[in-house]
């Protein structure tokens, strides 16, 4: 590192960052907050790392897909899930923060369910992980309750005109997951193969499960 270059860079520090390695204003702002919270002993860095790792890599829609697939193959489990979802999910080791009080709503030919949180970002973390940006953003939060068919169309979902739509606004600590209908032509699939058809959006209600691929 040549000193003259350092000096030149220093002159530019008062302006916009011009190196890819430099931190954005938001990175700097968050770093300051984190530094002081750690320095003063309010936050254990190990806890911070574990929280991020857990919700970045461990908790996600694969958990919900397991629950759905089990409900598709096991009628007794499905009945327990619809009657009292929280203990039923615990049977599969699924539960925890953001899913303390789960409600599962089943799609039928007559009614399609759609989940939203108009007031913030309530979302069933243990089954779906952290919510996608669109779920937390004004277009979805404002429109899901007033024009759900138009919203579904933007997700490429067009329901039969005679299939009612039921929108669940998550305004308290109950967390909703949609149990989509099992796709046709999946009679031969085992539970793991069924789980692979279950998309995140199908458990929010903004999508439908994948169709089974052609058999090999």
């Amino acid at each position: 590192m040549a000193h003259d270059h350092d000096h030149e860079d220093h002159d530019h520090d008062h302006h916009a960052p011009h190196h890819a390695s430099e931190l954005s204003p938001m990175e700097l702002r968050v770093r300051a907050l984190e530094s002081v919270l750690v320095e003063k002993g309010y936050v254990d860095p190990a806890a911070l790392d574990r929280l991020i790792e857990t919700y970045e890599t461990k908790v996600g829609p694969h958990n919900g897909a397991r629950v759905v697939a089990r409900a598709w193959v096991d009628a007794d489990f499905r009945a327990r899930l619809l009657a009292d979802a929280t203990p039923a999910m615990r049977e599969l080791g699924v539960g925890g923060r953001g899913g303390e009080h789960m409600v599962v709503v089943a799609n039928t030919q007559e009614e399609h369910n759609l989940v939203v949180c108009t007031l913030c970002s309530c979302y069933p973390w243990p089954v779906l992980g952290l919510p996608p940006v669109w779920y937390k953003s004004p277009p979805y939060r404002s429109r899901a309750v007033i024009e759900p068919r138009a919203v579904l169309a933007e997700f490429g979902v067009t329901l039969p005109a005679d299939q009612r739509i039921r929108v669940w606004d998550s305004t308290a600590e109950l967390r909703y997951m949609v149990l989509p209908m099992r796709p046709a032509g999946t009679e031969a699939l085992d539970e793991a193969a069924l789980a692979a058809l279950v998309t995140r959006d199908s458990m929010i209600g903004t999508g439908l499960p994948r169709a089974p691929g052609p058999s090999a």
Partner: protein, 225 residues
């Protein structure tokens, strides 16, 4: 409060923008904000309802133009200062200048898995019997609290039907203000879209909210005819 967070039924935000293969976080700082908010939430200094209240307290223009983790960051910055944990100078510099204030708990790394796998239930016993039963017609009260509430504007004054009685739960309106959990009965109330949105409601559409007992009052039977 009638703030920027109460979005149900608003127009003008444009189409929903799903993102293919969306990453869990869109920037390194978002991860840190998420983790900090979770960790500080367990310090026992405030509660989840108070955190929601702090986010909603952003002026609507700012709320609506901030990304979600930016909203969390701004709320967390205001909370740590309001509760005397961090001074403005410390926040500006990222360095501690005054001794730490006592907190009820510091979440340790090894506590994350067991605590978050168990969760933090908010159901509580309520001594009095539930006022409403399944099938009752109820009206959401016309109220405009300046503090935190979980009754969205689009149902206030509208009539629906009790569809489920869920038991007692922490009442967010008081809890957010550190005025006690004051648990109340929680219900699912189903509204026909036509009763919310009038003639422009889409056909065959209903909306449910979860409503605390004090949000509701009895409504007259559907038709006397």
């Amino acid at each position: 409060m009638n703030g920027g967070q109460d979005l149900g039924g608003m127009h003008g935000f444009g189409p929903v923008a799903p993102e293919a293969d969306e990453p869990r976080f869109h920037a390194a700082w978002e991860k840190r904000v998420f983790g900090l908010a979770m960790a500080m939430g367990l310090s026992g200094t405030w509660n989840l309802d108070a955190s929601r209240s702090a986010r909603e307290a952003l002026p609507p223009g700012e709320y609506l133009t901030s990304s979600y983790y930016a909203i969390w960051l701004k709320a967390l910055e205001s909370q740590v200062q309001a509760h005397g944990l961090v001074t403005p100078e410390e926040l500006a510099t990222g360095r501690g200048f005054v001794p730490a204030a006592p907190v009820k708990r510091v979440l340790r790394g090894e506590e994350v898995d067991p605590l978050f796998a168990r969760g933090f239930p908010s159901d509580r016993p309520v001594p009095d019997p539930a006022r409403f039963t399944v099938g009752d017609r109820v009206r959401a009260r016309i109220v405009n609290p300046v503090g935190h509430t979980r009754l969205p504007r689009y149902v206030r004054g509208r009539t629906g039907r009790i569809e489920a009685v869920h038991g007692g739960f922490v009442f967010p309106d008081t809890n957010a203000q550190f005025a006690g959990e004051a648990p109340q009965w929680l219900y699912t109330v189903r509204f026909a879209a036509r009763d919310l949105w009038g003639d422009q409601a889409e056909a065959g559409h209903a909306v449910s909210v979860n409503a605390f007992e004090s949000y509701l009052e009895p409504a007259e039977p559907e038709s006397a005819a």
